[in-house]
Amino acid sequence: MGKYVLKSLLQVIPVLFIVSLIVFILVRVTGDPVALMLPETATAEDRAVLTQALGLDQPLYTQYMKFLGSALQGDFGQSFRYGEPALQLVLERLPASFELAVAAMFFAIVMAVPLGVASAVKRNTFTDLIISGISVIGKAMPNFWMGIMLILLFSVMWGVLPVSGRGGVSHLILPAFTLGVGLAAQMTRLIRSSMLEILSQDYIRTARSKGLGRMVVIGKHAFRNGLIPVVTIMSLQFTSLIGGTLITETVFSWPGLGQLLVVAVNTHDMAIVQAAVFVIAFIVVVTNILTDVAYRLLDPRIKYD
């Protein structure tokens, strides 16, 4: 087991290395930050001075080696826009994104568990059909559109929830719901099929034939076991929530990592783009390893080699 973890961790290094290289190149071939930083009246001389001050006059590989060298020491350079260390800016935003992702996950669970169980228990009935329909719509609805619609309904028309920004629990509801719906739809279907499989198992039939109540059979025997694969998928999905909040954060002006990244791309703030993508990649890779380990522990049939 320890060996497996160690091996996985070693694989992280080349992955992050490749991510850093790709981002570095993409960021540099897409535009000139100096032009964006200077006023319209700046002369060619002003541009030259700033280009040199930022080290952008050096060959690409020199710039990359320098970037890599400092990145290894946790220094991703200074944000052009804010003039502060990029990594620090990115890490400052993590709690906001994490809060949103956790809340979205909470919504997803609260919605998916009862719906999934109900549609499995009432398999092929009208209820099942309705729930399946809802989950297809939920999965297909674009976050952007849904966010705007929720704002119109709950904030503009009914005035019960704040439109945007980060604040109390009330600020969290709409964005978390928007972000969580897609996941909920996916989980509903997963719980349904997982429960269906278990409901057809011998031990459920045994439990029923012993004369146990319907709720006890479903709640105590089937549900617990049906949850295991769902939980594994959930932790995998959590990483995509962290990385995938860009649109939701923009719609709701949620000051998290996603919004930081969108603004950084627009203003060509290279250091932030690099640091943000790197941090997201890091979270995804590490979470994947942890999930993998957990999965292997859950199911002893999988070997660690």
């Binding site: 897409t30 535009g31 000139d32 930050p33 032009a35 964006l36 930083m37 200077l38 006023p39 319209e40 009246t41 002369t43 002003d46 541009r47 001075v49 700033l50 001050a53 804010y82 003039g83 935003r93 809060e99 956790v102 809340a103 996950m105 909470f106 669970i109 705007i148 704002i151 119109l152 904030s155 503009v156 005035g159 704040p162 439109v163 945007s164 920004g165 980060r166 604040g167 109390g168 629990v169 009330s170 969290l172 617990r224 076991n225 295991i228 939980v231 923009t250 709701f252 002006s253 000051p255 919004q259 930081l260 969108v262 603004v263 627009n266 203003t267 060509h268 522990l297 859950l298 002893p300």
Partner: protein, 521 residues
Amino acid sequence: MKKRQWTGMWITLLAVVLVLSACGGKTTGTDSNSASSESGSSSSASTTLTIAAATDIESFDPHNNNNTSSEAVLVNVFDYLIKNDSEQKKVPGLATTWEQVNDTTWRFKLREGVTFHNGDPFTSADVKYTLERVAKDSTLKQNSYFKNIVEVKVVDEYTVDIITDGPDPLLLNRLSKMGAGILPAKYIKDNGFDKFLKQPVGTGPYKFSKWTKDDRVELVKNENYFDGEPKWNEVVFRVIPEASTRVSELLAGGVDIAASIPSTDIARIEGEADKKIVKAPIQRVLQLIFRQTEGSVTADPKVREAIDLAIDKQGIVDSIAGGAGIVTRTSVTPGNFGADPSLYQTSLYDQEKAKQLLQEAGYAEGEAEMTISVSSQYKEPAEVVAAMLEQVGFKINLDVLEPSAFSERYSSKSFKEIFMIGIGNSLFDASNNYNRYMLDEAKGESDYNNPEVEKLLQSALVNMDPASREKEYQQVQQILAEDRPAVYLYQMEGVYGTDSRVNFEPRSDEMFYADEITPAQ
């Protein structure tokens, strides 16, 4: 058994997640209640002003900022020596009087008894530190506007001489814009610049309270402001990049003023009883700039005239800009030094004559092929322009670029026949519009070359007599209107949505001076 343990663990984890999210909510909840920007604003309408803009400030360093939305916030914290009033007339700020000593020296008398937010008195030393910093540090974004200041001489505690490297008719304009915000010399020397950026201190009517990046800037009243007690207890600038969210926030009553309202939402806001749209022309003129390099289609004056005549500018204002624009034949609009009103609020449009001119220039239908490069933010007007030009017989390749790619091509001067751009003027002076048509600057970009214009521009650059300088720029304008190194489409207007809780008259410089905004009684 093993499976059971794991289920237990996952359920525990789930519980932890739930508690976590609840806690996270609660702690920040108290925070926002005290900020009272949302629900609280109705009960304390006269004490908190909330403004929503599309972009965040860059930092609290007025010297290292280059966007209007930063300055719009920072003017409430930092004062200039000279202020522009809402008509762009120079009025005393931290300087009470000023006079020109000789061609390169101006003397300023400073206001006495002013203190910074930390209690330090404001003196000549602060002016010297501030202006010499921005003039000498070439890595600062405002440096190019101030580098012609050679020295700031302290005459006495409340008098300074500002010395430039040559005659500079624009010095007063420079001193009343971002980059001239006066910083506390002693506070910065004692605490370092990093501390200053975290706890900025100025002399302005509002004091820094809190900045959550990409979310909000909170300012509180400076009780000791030299110009009387400020009107609002608290001023909150919120950042809401998504336009439809900004509009919703206004409609839901979360903000008092929302900036940059898209033309498609104007009717929706006007339809609400207690909301209103207010507009003001801003310092930005949308224009097409031509390459006149020999061999280029647009080198022919007849072609350029045909382009001008083919475009229905008023039509673009009405259809694309939702009426928020003023047609013009000059980019030096009223309120700027050197403006020529005869070329303002007017435009040319004659498709038949345009067709005829194109024929005279020797092009049959579809033969005059041109590329128009434009940044994606102006994609829609560019599409309409392209369609109008094709109607009279041009063949247009529309080259829509992502903003940073556009900037790069712009600074490397590598556009083809035409590029479309909205050009602002933060100095409120015609030189800012026309220096690009001076030989050296035009080289490689428009390659515009007119010796008469060159002479007038060179002279105006150092002419310290305002009356004759103004004439020079007006003459240049008349020549350019015929020469057409550029065709002007329209002056843009700032469109704001406001709540009836406040009275707000937008300014042409797009600043939000909180004290010019008053609670409606």
